[in-house]
């Protein structure tokens, strides 16, 4: 038996290797098979065009798709009104992604060795999971009247309205006059809602949501959908695009939870052709906002007797209070601004973005406007960069790589370490679409993302590094 054991082991290894290679070959066959199949979601079903017409790789838009969106989800071909569709046609698409993912963070506050103490430890978890569910419904109500409604859930099925708007398109027959009203994605050229990476860390742009460490008075992300009204205009060929929005200072939350403040977002870009390389685009954007620094409060739990003092009088608990929604005052300003370039060299495209942020010293130090600033307080500023490359081998396969960095240029307190909050984020992966269809979409998705934030570990104040690994079947219909 002992003599045969090595032979058996060798056979088992050989069998395992052969099986592994067979699986690998089958996978290769599946991945290399580039037959188109039949079928698309809502707009594709309406117009009979494959996903790849509007998406370089869904959900990322192609210039044709961007133009379609800018025209109010119309091809401007006399078949845009719903009257030209079957009465049963309902412009709805759902998207969801079953996933396996691994999440790891190197410094998480956990129980210490002694009761009541805490310490830092690496925490890693992995397993099968699923994304939230998006119901996209949008299109035209009539020629030049478009809409979009997106109820979106988290993994538990708790829904919120991610997008709710109606749009008047091509007013007075001009592509320069389009008015959108409701809650919508800002006119970000590098759309976070159409991001190609979906992991916990890679599923958003760090630059779009960054706020200096410790800020708690307000929450804002240029990647968040906002509520307001937007004017947008574009040339017929969509080479020139301009937009301006007036928005509630609520970061897109319903019920006017903050103040009566308004904010604005401006964006503009120009595309140009460079030989046979493709369509290049450069643009700029700015968000000018304000946030309240204090609120009126309402008592949620009144004081109650909790004992008696030395004189026998009652000792009362402190009342619990909460902000009264909409009463925020003492607004202080902030802004985000940036430049973007989208560069194409045939199948390779690179998006470059420079980002600059500034917050009032009050916001940076969590100081109500009716209180003096702490000694040494200053307005935090930072600069960021994004470099994202895609190699689109064909409409079915895309390689994705993104590096982002954020560097604080001025801390809220001069005494803070210069690099406190600096971020480096790397994400890479691929999406493979086994079929391209005019009815539905499906993608094999694999992605890895790692983010390092300087000196933000909860106890030690050392660097915090987290990573995500994700495999998923991303589908919509």
């Amino acid at each position: 038996m002992h003599e045969r054991a090595p032979q058996l082991a060798q056979k088992r290894i050989s069998w395992a290797a052969s099986t592994l290679w067979l699986v690998f070959l089958l996978l290769a066959i599946v991945l290399a098979d580039s037959r188109p199949a039949t079928a698309i979601p809502a707009f594709a079903r309406k117009y009979g065009m494959p996903c790849s017409a509007c998406h370089e790789a869904w959900p990322k838009l192609s210039p044709f798709g961007q133009s379609f969106k800018d025209n109010g989800y119309q091809l401007m071909n006399d078949r845009d009104a719903p009257i030209f569709q079957q009465p049963a046609y309902w412009p709805i698409t759902f998207r969801m992604t079953p996933i396996w993912h691994r999440e790891s963070s190197n410094r998480v506050a956990v129980d210490g060795a002694t009761p009541g103490s805490t310490t830092e430890a690496q925490v890693t978890t992995h397993g099968f999971d699923w994304s939230g569910l998006d119901f996209h419904t949008g299109g035209t109500l009539a020629k030049n009247f478009s809409f979009y409604l997106l109820p979106s859930s988290d993994g538990t099925g708790a829904f919120h309205f991610e997008t709710v708007y109606a749009r008047l398109d091509n007013l007075l027959g001009s592509s320069w006059l389009n008015i959108k009203f409701g809650k919508f994605e800002l006119d970000n050229l590098h759309s976070e809602k159409r991001i190609l990476t979906i992991s916990a860390l890679g599923g958003s742009y760090q630059n779009y949501h960054f706020q200096p460490p410790g800020e708690a008075l307000y929450k804002f992300g240029i990647g968040d959908n906002q509520a307001g009204v937007e004017w947008m205009g574009h040339s017929k060929d969509d080479r020139t695009r301009l937009s301006a929005s007036l928005l509630s200072a609520s970061d897109g939350q319903p019920g006017l939870p903050t103040s009566r403040g308004y904010e604005t977002f401006l964006a503009g870009s120009r595309a140009f052709e460079v030989g046979g390389l493709g369509l290049q685009r450069v643009g700029a954007f700015a968000y000018i906002g304000q946030a309240p620094t204090f609120f009126q409060h309402t008592v949620t739990t009144p004081p109650t007797p909790i004992g008696t003092d030395s004189t026998g009088g009652p000792v009362m608990s402190l009342p619990s209070t909460a902000n009264v929604p909409g009463t925020g005052i003492g607004n202080k300003g902030y802004y985000r601004a940036g430049l973007i370039g989208m560069w194409y060299v045939k199948k390779l495209d690179v998006t470059t973005m420079y980002f600059h942020g500034w917050d009032s010293a009050f916001l940076g130090t969590n100081t109500p406007a009716n209180s003096p600033l702490p000694t040494g307080a200053q307005a935090p500023t930072w600069n960021g960069g994004l470099f994202e490359t895609h190699y689109t081998l064909n409409p079915q396969f895309i390689l994705i790589n993104r590096y982002e960095l954020i560097r604080m240029s001025r801390q809220a307190f001069a005494t803070n370490p210069d690099d406190l909050g600096n971020v480096d984020a790397l994400t890479f992966g691929y999406r493979y679409y086994p079929f391209i269809s005019t009815r539905a979409g499906f993608a094999f998705h694999t992605e890895y993302a790692i983010v390092r934030t300087r000196k933000t570990a909860p106890i030690s104040g050392l660097d915090l590094t987290s990573s995500s690994l994700l495999f998923g079947f991303d589908f919509d219909y």
Binding site: S14, A17, W21, F24, L25, A28, I29, A32, D33, S34, R35, P36, T38, A39, I40, A44, K46, Y47, G48, M49, P50, S52, A53, S62, P63, F64, Q66, S67, L75, M76, N77, D78, R79, D80, A81, P82, I83, F84, Q85, Q86, Y89, L141, A142, K143, N144, F145, K236, D237, D238, E273, G275, G276, G278, L279, N394, P395, S437, T438
Partner: protein, 296 residues
């Protein structure tokens, strides 16, 4: 070593399967001004943008085309997408029966085709459009064996007069345009319901009352070319051998007056005459907008 061998097999399999799928073999070029389009580049674009309607083989049988029998209830398209294999094209500057020029095809891509699902592809780069045209030409042997015809001569447009419009109106009757397009230009002539295209699919005559654009352009020159070259593959013939250029321009001027919702010099002039004003008033319909975007 075994692992290495398997890896070699793997690479070979991937390489073989990554080869382009079978397609029309010949390489074609297109020439649009200074641009040269290449079919190899156009192929990738075709299989990104076009095959849903025009079909994987370019025969107009994309997965959204529903053939005869579903008309007029076809939900997605009511005109069969162009069959590139047949090599017959509606919008040309060349004589009937001849191939269009590359520029003609390019113009169609830029413009789109009104009253169909074919959109404008103006958002593509000029090079992309040139490449697509080169690839479209690989579907039919006609592009290998024939040459595009010479563009017809479009003489300068004569001065617009009420007499010119009146004469055009007489030609509209004499040439029996009304049989298909209807006396009022609504596309509802007595023959309208019987018309089929070269694929035996029902086809509707153009309704002048509902738009400003024509199938192959929006200008008077485009309209002149439409009936002097005909729309090949449709019942719309060429009138080049039937009428003289001056008569053709008179017809252009009259047809413009049938577009009662589109402000044009022809409509204004014709509306200033007693006869014209009465005709225009009888063609206009006022009421609640329908939401179709089509002016009534």
């Amino acid at each position: 070593m075994r692992t290495l061998r398997f890896f070699k097999y793997f690479l070979v399999v991937v390489a073989v399967l990554s080869l382009p799928s079978p397609s029309p073999a010949q390489q074609m070029e297109s020439h649009i001004g200074k641009l040269t389009g290449h079919s190899e580049s156009g192929k990738q674009l075709f299989y990104r943008y076009c095959w849903g309607c025009h079909g994987f083989r370019g025969d107009g049988n994309g997965e959204n085309w529903l053939p005869t029998g579903s008309y007029p209830y076809m939900p997605y398209l009511n005109i069969q997408p162009r069959n590139f294999v047949a090599g017959t094209f509606k919008c040309r500057s060349t004589q009937t029966g001849s191939l269009p020029t590359d520029q003609d095809l390019y113009n169609t891509l830029v413009r789109g085709v009104v009253n169909s699902n074919m959109p404008s592809w103006i958002t593509l780069t000029a090079q992309n459009r040139a490449d697509l045209i080169a690839f479209i030409k690989t579907f039919s042997a006609r592009w290998k064996n024939d040459k595009p015809g010479d563009p017809i001569n479009v003489p300068a447009e004569p001065k617009l007069t009420a007499e010119s419009i009146k004469h055009g109106q007489e030609l509209f009757q004499k040439l029996e345009c009304w049989k298909c397009h209807g006396q009022e230009g609504f596309g509802d002539g007595p023959s309208a319901s019987t018309l089929t295209d070269s694929n035996d699919q029902p086809i509707r005559p153009y309704n002048f009352a509902v738009g400003s654009r024509f199938k192959c352009g929006a200008t008077n020159q485009d309209l002149y070319k439409i009936f002097m070259t005909g729309l090949d593959g449709t019942p719309m013939p060429s009138f080049a051998d039937v009428i003289k250029p001056d008569d053709a321009w008179d017809l252009v001027h009259f047809l413009r007056t049938l577009q009662v919702t589109h402000k044009s010099p022809e409509l204004t002039l014709w509306g200033s005459t007693k006869e014209g004003a009465a005709q225009i008033a009888s063609r206009k319909v006022s009421g609640t907008p329908t939401g179709s975007g089509i002016k009534q």
